[in-house]
Symmetry: C2
């Protein structure tokens, strides 16, 4: 049986059940495991010293939280992450995760930073801006930022769904809420799906990891996820790219 | 500079600072990383299928919580853990972690179980009963339980400090609070220290892991921990045994 690609609705339902009374997980737990998986997928794809300086771009929601956790673990792994949070999250956990990064001496670019100039001193982009709750078109400041990230020429690892892609339909040209055409979608070299891949990445042809090894088998069966087997005690597993399927 | 072995007081101070305003970690986060490290150390030391059935013995405090997290991850790794919680913790997190195990279909032995009979159908013991807050002598029911675990003939992995050892002085004969001599201390084949090893395990000669890769370097320097380098993106590192030092 083949792996299930999730609708946005099912992804939300799974999240809600895992963190509700039935699943009993806290957001802190799942975000920690998700962010660790992101950092490990990055380390498995882009090695030090060639890729040491990572611009970790975090959105204001839970995906941004995954990015903050990943940045902290990357720092432990020997990478030199820099945070870029054009819009910071309000949740208490977001603030705590940011403080944990500051305690690791991870710098944060000001929201007003000259992004093109800053990108020149980075080796890699970690895209943790939008997750499976994203709905276009792009609002400011992201309508300005996503094209700059795309045009930087830096390799990119995206979390769950490349930012600006439609969660169910996949890559679409970037468009601002004023209806302006902002050009081609992001084209990340590496992707890590969390819990289970979303419909929009079904045709993704880059290196594709799965993380989020926390779904109880009974729930996996209930939702017919047909997840692949993770090797040993690893927290990530590489998926066959759609080219190989 | 050699690794620092912690007094009970310093271990508590580090925990408090990590989870206080300065460190900004939640207990959920640190327990998740600690429990994952415990499970990975077990997997790195005792392979399936020879060691599949693991009796995970959890005390009522935070160390028991680490055990519950480890049991869940072990189940994901393919082990068959069984929980044994002679005294369950009251904290909300403890209850949630137990529920997460139940969701994984991990069975829990009743506190009244015939322990010697139950041990006959296990391959391995994970000792997560007492941590660095332990102070002897042993109270019931642990004064009954620790000798049974010791005499089971099963290999054992202990977390942080083998249960019944003095946190700073190390192995001492087991003694009940009634002053009864209960014989030799536990002698686990494998130990995983969390954050940094405690004074009492300085002479430990078995296989020794370190986990808890979450101490910010600035705090590590402040406390002069001189932790070893973890390899790559691993969450555990093997320590030289005292025989090799």
């Amino acid at each position: 049986m083949s792996m299930r690609y999730l609708t946005a609705h099912l992804a939300q339902e799974i999240d809600a059940k895992l963190m509700g009374e039935a699943g009993a997980f806290s957001l802190d737990q799942l975000m920690e495991l998700a962010g660790l998986a992101v950092a490990q997928a990055l380390a498995a794809s882009f090695s030090i010293p060639k890729y040491t300086r990572v611009l970790v771009c975090c959105g204001p929601g839970n995906q941004g939280g995954d990015g903050l956790v990943a940045a902290r673990h990357l720092s432990h792994f020997g990478y030199k992450p820099t945070l870029y949070m054009p819009k910071t999250g309000n949740k208490d956990i977001y603030q705590r995760l940011h403080k944990q990064c500051t305690n690791m001496s991870i710098p944060t670019l000001p929201a007003s930073a000259d992004l093109p100039a800053s990108l020149k001193s980075q080796d890699l982009i970690l895209d943790a801006i939008f997750g499976f709750s994203f709905q276009g078109p792009l609002r400011a400041p992201f309508s300005r930022i996503l094209p700059l990230l795309r045009d930087s020429g830096l390799p990119m690892l995206s979390v769950d769904i490349p930012s600006g892609w439609e969660v169910e339909r996949g890559p679409v040209p970037l468009q601002s809420e004023e209806g302006e055409d902002l050009g081609a979608p992001l084209d990340p070299e590496v992707l890590i799906s969390l819990t289970a891949p979303k419909l929009g990445v079904k045709g993704y042809r880059g290196r594709h990891w799965l993380g989020g090894r926390f779904v109880p088998p009974a729930m996996e069966r209930e939702w017919e996820l047909n997840l692949p087997e993770y090797p040993g005690s690893e927290q990530i597993v590489q998926l066959p790219t759609s080219a190989e399927l």
